[in-house]
């Protein structure tokens, strides 16, 4: 983990809900989308009016709806985080091999996931800290980043202790190489391009200098013009 200056206090930027809203604004009408656990789950609440987006969960449902009212949970109708969900009108159930045909065959348009580190090349680390006594568990993350057409990461810009999560080279075990297309943090929206990281948007009250100070990789300013 690369140290960053902690002398200056970090700007707060967007809240978790605002980050999710910012992601949702970029999801087009008609998209098939897989949402990871944590902030990505919030994205479903913020689909702009007038757009139909179909949410996929890898345990076998296209057309994930909101959580059921208390008392109406079905333990056999859950999402990948094993939380109760509903199925929207027009939903479809399928088995695991078909579900991962959707993922690995490039049929899902966008997946939104959390991350521990993203590199300037778009490498992603989000499944393991590599610690000796950790129980390794990967789930569907490696399949999603290898197969889905566009991979969006949404995460806090730094760790709780202020260390950069956007780095030159990931130090944690990789989930996938050169797989991330766009990063949404509480401070900025950053595209991963062939020539490196390009800032597309900044949270209110946040400037390029602050984002650069909290990022351990070069950032180009892509907001001009």
């Amino acid at each position: 983990m690369l140290p960053v200056s902690q002398q200056q206090s970090a700007p707060a930027g967007w809240s978790r809900d605002e980050m999710a809203r910012r992601v949702a604004a970029d999801i087009p009408d008609g998209a098939y989308v897989n949402l990871g656990i944590g902030i990505p789950e919030l994205v479903a609440r913020f689909v702009p009016a007038g757009r139909e987006v179909i949410f996929h969960t890898e345990n076998g449902l296209l057309g994930v709806g909101p959580p059921p009212p208390p008392g109406q949970e079905d333990p056999e109708l859950i999402n990948a985080g094993k939380k109760p969900v509903t199925a929207i009108p027009g939903a479809a159930f399928f088995h695991h091999a078909d579900s991962f045909v959707m993922i690995r065959g490039g049929h899902i348009d966008i997946c939104v996931l959390g991350a521990m580190q993203v590199s300037s090349q778009g490498d992603l680390a989000n499944w393991s800290t590599g610690e000796a006594d950790a129980i390794p568990a990967v789930g569907g993350a490696m399949d999603l980043v290898a197969g889905v057409k566009a991979v969006y990461v949404v995460m806090e810009h730094t760790t709780k202790t202020g260390a950069a999560k956007i780095v030159e080279t990931c130090t944690y075990p990789l989930t996938g190489r050169r797989c991330v297309n766009r990063i949404y943090t509480n401070l900025a929206v950053i595209d991963v391009t062939a020539s490196g990281l390009v800032v597309r948007d900044l949270a209110p009250g946040v400037d390029m200098a602050a984002v650069r100070r909290l990022t351990a990789a070069p950032l180009a300013d892509g907001m001009k013009g």
Binding site: T57, E58, N59, G60, L61, D74, P75, E76, L77, I78, K82, A87, F93, F94, H95, H96, A97, S99, F100, I103, R104, D133, I135, P136, A137, V138, G139, G140, A141, M142, D143, A146, G147, P173, L174, T175, G176, R177
Partner: protein, 236 residues
């Protein structure tokens, strides 16, 4: 006359020997064949290899099978989750082996096993520790890793309803690994809430054709793992 029903979960698992490889359906508690697993605990077969997405929760179902010392190895994508403590304890103590497989690779390995395909190439895990030591090959300028198909001696699966030929329909996201595990095991054992006469299932809606199913056990009111865990239950 074809009638795949057997009289009890105990009878259904009675011939599972020590050292067997067993696929167990379920994603978390959804689709976990808890009554069949408990019958396997009572039966006592040991040194088992279990192929399943998770390792169970609390001390019931799959977690109880592992806690009972019957499982030597798990092939799994996500062996820890909420209320999962049995597997982590044994793993840290070096008492159980783990083959960690990305979830889509696990599903495809099972699908291929059932389809007679010994191996395949996938992009998943290329460039990660889970591809280390595996054969790779470049197709169309992209690197792929080779993975082997998986078969098993037995599958334990939960479905919603069957006819006596073994045709199956499922409920919601409890379907998950069930259909592919039925194809990849030499003996597929399925617990269902109800068995109907042939014609009682719409052939357009059948998910698993009966050719893939060997034994049916009726469990009209299966337990919910999360309820048992909340109640602090422990099996046996």
């Amino acid at each position: 006359m074809i009638d795949k029903r057997v009289e009890s979960p105990a009878a259904a698992v009675a011939d599972i020997p020590d050292g067997a490889t067993i696929m167990i359906g379920g994603f978390g508690e959804a689709g976990s064949p808890i009554e069949l697993i408990h019958a396997l605990i009572d039966h006592g077969a040991r040194h088992l290899t279990v192929i399943s997405n998770n390792t169970g929760s609390g001390r019931v179902g799959l977690a109880a099978l592992i806690a009972n010392g019957q499982v030597a190895k798990v092939v799994c994508s996500y062996p820890r989750s909420a209320n999962s403590m049995v597997f982590p304890e044994l793993y840290r103590a070096g008492k159980i082996q783990l083959e960690l497989v990305p979830q889509g690779t696990l599903a495809e390995r099972i699908r291929c096993g059932g389809a007679g395909i010994p191996a395949f190439y996938t992009q998943t895990a290329v460039g990660t520790v889970l591809a280390e030591g595996k054969e790779t090959r470049v197709f169309g300028g992209r690197e792929y890793v080779m993975e082997y198909g998986l078969t098993a001696d037995f599958a334990l699966v939960k479905a919603e309803r069957a006819d006596r030929y073994g045709n199956l329909v499922y409920h919601g996201t409890a379907r998950n690994f069930g259909p592919i595990m039925c194809t990849a095991a030499r003996r597929a054992i399925v617990q269902v809430k109800q068995v109907v006469e042939p014609g009682g299932l719409d052939p357009e809606a059948v998910v698993t054709p009966g050719i893939f199913v060997d034994r049916l056990v009726v469990v009209p009111n299966p337990a919910h793992e999360s309820v048992l865990v909340q109640e602090g239950r422990c099996y046996p």
